[in-house]
Each structure stands twice: as structure tokens, then as C-alpha cells.
Amino acid sequence: MTDVVVGKVSEFGDPGRKVVDVRGKEIGIFQLDKTFYAYHNSCPHMDGPVCQGIVLPLTTEDVDPETCKGLGRGFSKKHTNIVCPWHGMEFDIRTGEHPTDAQFRLRKIPVRVEKDLVYVTV
């Protein structure tokens, strides 16, 4: 295994993302609330370039607990997803899991920050 510098912390937005190809291995690195996450750029559905899609909050639908009436759709304040651009499958950036079926999850890659540099282990 090799540690590879993928950039300075300052090169990432928050939320921010960078996708890199390191000698044939494609890796998506995300920053959310000053924490970094990294995944293989491969969707568990059909191997699509999942990390190269758009970043969006999780879509939710609240229900009134008293009346059970739907309150319409909204965006989550807690969960942020990466959306695979091939078919739209979404994954929570913090956990890598699909919101409905957690058996579909992104493969994690170790990531760490040291002296303002972001490293991934490939």
C-alpha cells in the first residue's frame, strides 16, 4: 500500500470534493464539516463513476405523527449524498451507504490529514 497526497486541505471546499486517478485507481475524496471521507469511484450498482456525480442533501418526506398526513418532501439538514451520474443511485457521504438499502455501500479508502495535506492509502 502507498500513501498518496491528493491535495492541500485548502484545495477542498467544505462541502467539497475531488476525484483523482492514481495510476488507474479512481478515488473520490470528500470534505464535510472539516472531516474527510474517501471512496472508490465505483458504484455498487453498475460500477458507474459515482464520485463524479453531484452532491445533494438527502431528500426526506416528513409525516405528521398525529395525523399520519404527509408533509411533503424536503432536504435533510443532517445528511449529504453523492449521486451516481449513471443512474442516480445516492449514497450518504459520511457512511457511504444507500439511504434505503444499506447493503449497497461505497467501498471506503483510508484518508487522513497531516500538516495541511490530504493523504489517501491506495
Partner: protein, 422 residues
């Protein structure tokens, strides 16, 4: 154990994929998948789409009716999207509001058409090279819902214009692009004229009826058309489509619900009429293909029709066998392949004789497209079954040569990396 720390050595940044992305970059991972089936002799995609929107003005030039040609061109100049076509309610949600941008694209640039072919051809070539496809049968996306157009003359006019545009401007630029002639089912006589006109064109491999329509396919007015198709020996495809305007579907409040139900719905109706009225007995040599409804509906309909027909024979007296037996001799395209329960999918493939009757389709660039990897990664198929589904069944059905014409995957990948400066 870590052996060294590398600082950005050999590191290449990959962009976010957007509407403007090049098909080759959007499908770069498909090209990697294609390495796994590079040894296969033939890959045929039965259903590729490319939005004709950016070329709609060219197509309108082929409208022979001067009023419709003038009106269409005026509306185009006025900024209307796909003038003359009835744009269906809710279809703007197809691309999931930016989540799947290739659905509404591609809007990529192209090379000089004088040297590299029509822009349509260049973009198709990029996508089929990336997916490792030898031949792609293209389908007119913009005309998918013309069967529901309340102005039948528009369907008839556009069907002639589309076939001319395709055979005069597009197909001559690349023999790997094939097509199905569009049949204006509103008018059996015009369908017959189109079949006769293109019967001998080797790149028109068959003819298609857009299934999203309310027409009885068993009506006697169509029998001459089916006889003609049988005589020329080219297959008839029913291409499914969406329709949120159908009263039954208006209670569905999300695009996903409408999309999940309407595509198989129209093919189920047409196939039921086709079988119950014993058209396979009347036209035993006519090959029929059911396109873009996935596969899960087929075993359902087989069981349902067998059950009902065996009890109510008097209403389907033309049948000499069970409905499922006729259905097992028809052809089906794979996309969108319902792959999330492999046991059910395996049963489905057994029920439809997938090894001989299933045809791979990509539906690229739509949001639910399938790469050939959707077939090659199925654990229960034999290597021969995969080869059949991906190309050999299509070669037999469309009389295509079993000869590789696609570039080597390795070369496709290397060329793109070189172009990107990698």
C-alpha cells in the same frame, strides 16, 4: 504496511460529469468494463437513443408537407423544443433534476463533420466505442410519443422525414449505426409504403411501432402490413414508452411510479392482443420484438394468459398452443434489466428462453441505461448464453455478419487518455 509516501505522482484529476461532458468521459468506466468482454466476437445494441433535438431543424427540412415544414421551422426559430412533437406531461423529470445529466444530453462538442461525419454519428461512435459495441440500432427518442399525438398527420409526416434524414444524412456516415424504420401506425397504408421503401436498405434492420398508443394491433386494417413484413423477412419491434396522461396513471404522483408502470403496460396490452387474436398463427414467420420494458413483466403475463386462456378457450379460439409457448418464441430486449433479485431474474430468463430470445439493449443515454456489463456480470449465465444475448441472437435475427467491427478496448482507452493528455 506502507512502503512509501508519494506526493501527487501519476495523479490525474477527474471532473464532475455534467451535461457538457464528453460521452467518452461519461462512459470511461464502461470502457474499463469492456475489457472483460473484449474477446467476444460480436456486441449488438438493439436500442440506442440519441436525442435528435439538436438536429431537429435538419429533420424538419425533410418534411414534405409545406405547411408542417414551415410551421415546424417557425416554432423552432421561436425557441420551441422539438416543434410538432407532443411533449408529454412530466417528462422533464426524466433526468432527476440534474442527478443524471446524460439523460438530457449530450451537449458535447464534435470534430469537423466534413472529416469525421455528421455530429450525430460522431457522438454515437464515441458511446459505442466506449461500451465496446459493434453495432447500435438507434431509435428516435423525440418521436417516442407520436402515437399519442392527436394530429395523426404529424406522425405520418415526421415518420417519412425521420426515415429520410436517417437514411440520407446519418446512416451513410457509419455502417456500424443501424436503425428501425419508424411506422406511423395511425395509417396502415403509410406504414406499408415505408416498409416497401426501406425493405432493401441493409442498415434498416426492421421496423418499429411506438407502443405508447391506444391502437388495437389485431385490427384487420393491419393484416396487410404484417403480411408484408413477413414477406420481406424483417422483424417488427414494439418500443414501449411512458404516458402520464392515461387516466389510469394520473393517480400516480411521482415520475418513478409512472415510469415503472407505463412502459410494461403498453407492451402488455399489445402483446395480449397479439396473442389472444392468434397473430402468431396467422404470421408464423414474422419475428416480433418487445423493446424497453425490462423482463419482469413477461413471466407474469405468461402465467396470467395461460391461466385465463385454458379456462376461456372460446375467447381465444385461434390458439393451438398456450400463450406462453408463443411468447417464448418472441424476442425481448434486456434493458432496463431488473437485477436486484438474481433468483427471480434467473427464473425470468429461463421462462423466456433468454439464451436464444434475449437481445442486449443499452438505451444509452437514458437514465436507466445498461452497459453490456449488465449481462456479462450475471453469475448464472454460461459464457455462450452471454455471447448469444450480447450479439449472436441479434446477428441471427437481423442477418448481421458475425464479424468484429469495433476497435480494441485497449486502444479506445489509450486514445482517450492521450487526448486528455494523460
Amino acid at each position: 504496511m506502507l512502503d512509501k509516501v508519494t506526493r501527487q505522482e501519476g495523479l490525474r484529476e477527474l471532473p464532475e460529469l455534467t451535461l457538457e461532458s464528453d460521452s467518452r468521459d461519461y462512459l470511461a468506466r464502461a470502457a474499463r468494463q469492456a475489457q472483460a468482454y473484449d474477446k467476444y466476437e460480436l456486441i449488438v445494441d438493439i436500442d440506442g437513443h440519441l436525442h435528435e433535438g439538436r438536429f431537429w431543424g435538419e429533420l424538419l427540412d425533410y418534411c414534405e408537407n409545406e405547411v408542417l415544414r414551415r410551421d415546424g421551422k417557425w416554432l423552432l426559430k421561436d425557441g420551441q423544443n422539438l416543434p410538432l412533437v407532443n411533449v408529454a406531461m412530466g417528462m422533464i423529470f426524466q433526468a432527476m433534476q440534474g442527478r443524471v445529466s446524460h439523460q438530457t444530453g449530450p451537449r458535447e462538442g464534435v470534430e469537423d463533420p466534413a472529416k469525421h461525419g455528421h455530429p450525430f454519428v460522431q457522438i454515437v461512435r464515441r458511446s459505442i466505442d466506449s461500451m465496446g459495441i459493434d453495432y447500435q440500432i438507434v431509435f428516435p427518442t423525440a418521436m417516442l410519443l407520436l402515437g399519442l399525438n392527436p394530429m395523426p398527420d404529424i406522425e405520418i409526416e415526421l415518420s417519412y422525414a425521420y426515415c429520410r434524414w436517417l437514411t440520407e444524412r446519418i446512416l451513410p456516415d457509419d455502417k456500424r449505426i443501424l436503425a428501425l424504420g419508424y411506422l406511423p401506425f395511425h395509417s396502415p397504408e403509410d406504414c406499408e409504403k415505408i416498409v416497401r421503401k426501406y425493405a432493401d436498405n441493409p442498415q434498416i434492420t426492421g421496423f418499429t411501432i411506438c407502443a405508447a398508443r391506444h391502437a388495437p394491433v389485431h385490427d384487420n386494417m393491419y393484416m396487410r402490413l404484417y403480411r408484408l413484413l413477413e414477406e420481406i423477412g424483417k422483424p417488427l419491434a414494439f418500443h414501449a414508452g411512458p404516458n402520464w396522461d392515461d387516466p389510469s396513471f394520473k393517480t400516480l404522483n411521482r415520475f418513478v411510479s409512472m415510469h415503472a408502470l407505463t412502459f410494461p403496460h403498453y407492451n402488455m396490452i399489445h402483446l395480449t392482443n397479439w396473442v389472444i387474436n392468434a397473430l402468431p398463427e396467422r404470421f408464423p414467420k414474422l419475428k416480433v420484438i418487445w423493446v424497453e420494458s425490462g423482463l419482469a413483466w413477461v413471466p407474469y403475463l405468461m402465467q396470467r394468459l395461460d391461466h385465463e386462456v385454458l379456462l376461456r378457450q372460446n375467447e381465444a379460439p385461434g390458439l393451438k398452443r398456450r400463450p406462453s409457448e408463443y411468447m417464448r418464441e418472441m424476442y425481448y430486449t434486456s434493458q432496463p434489466l431488473e437485477r436486484f433479485d438474481l433468483d427471480l431474474l434467473k427464473s425470468t430468463m429461463t421462462a423466456i428462453n433468454a439464451e436464444t430470445q434475449l437481445l442486449y439493449a443499452s438505451d444509452w443515454p437514458h437514465w436507466d441505461f445498461d452497459t453490456p456489463g449488465s449481462i456479462t456480470t450475471l453469475p448464472f449465465l454460461s459464457d455462450q448464453a452471454k455471447r448469444n444475448i450480447l450479439g449472436l441472437n441479434a446477428a441471427r435475427l437481423f442477418n448481421l455478419p458475425v464479424k468484429r467491427v469495433r476497435p480494441r478496448t485497449e486502444d479506445v482507452i489509450a486514445k482517450r487518455l492521450q487526448e486528455l493528455g494523460g
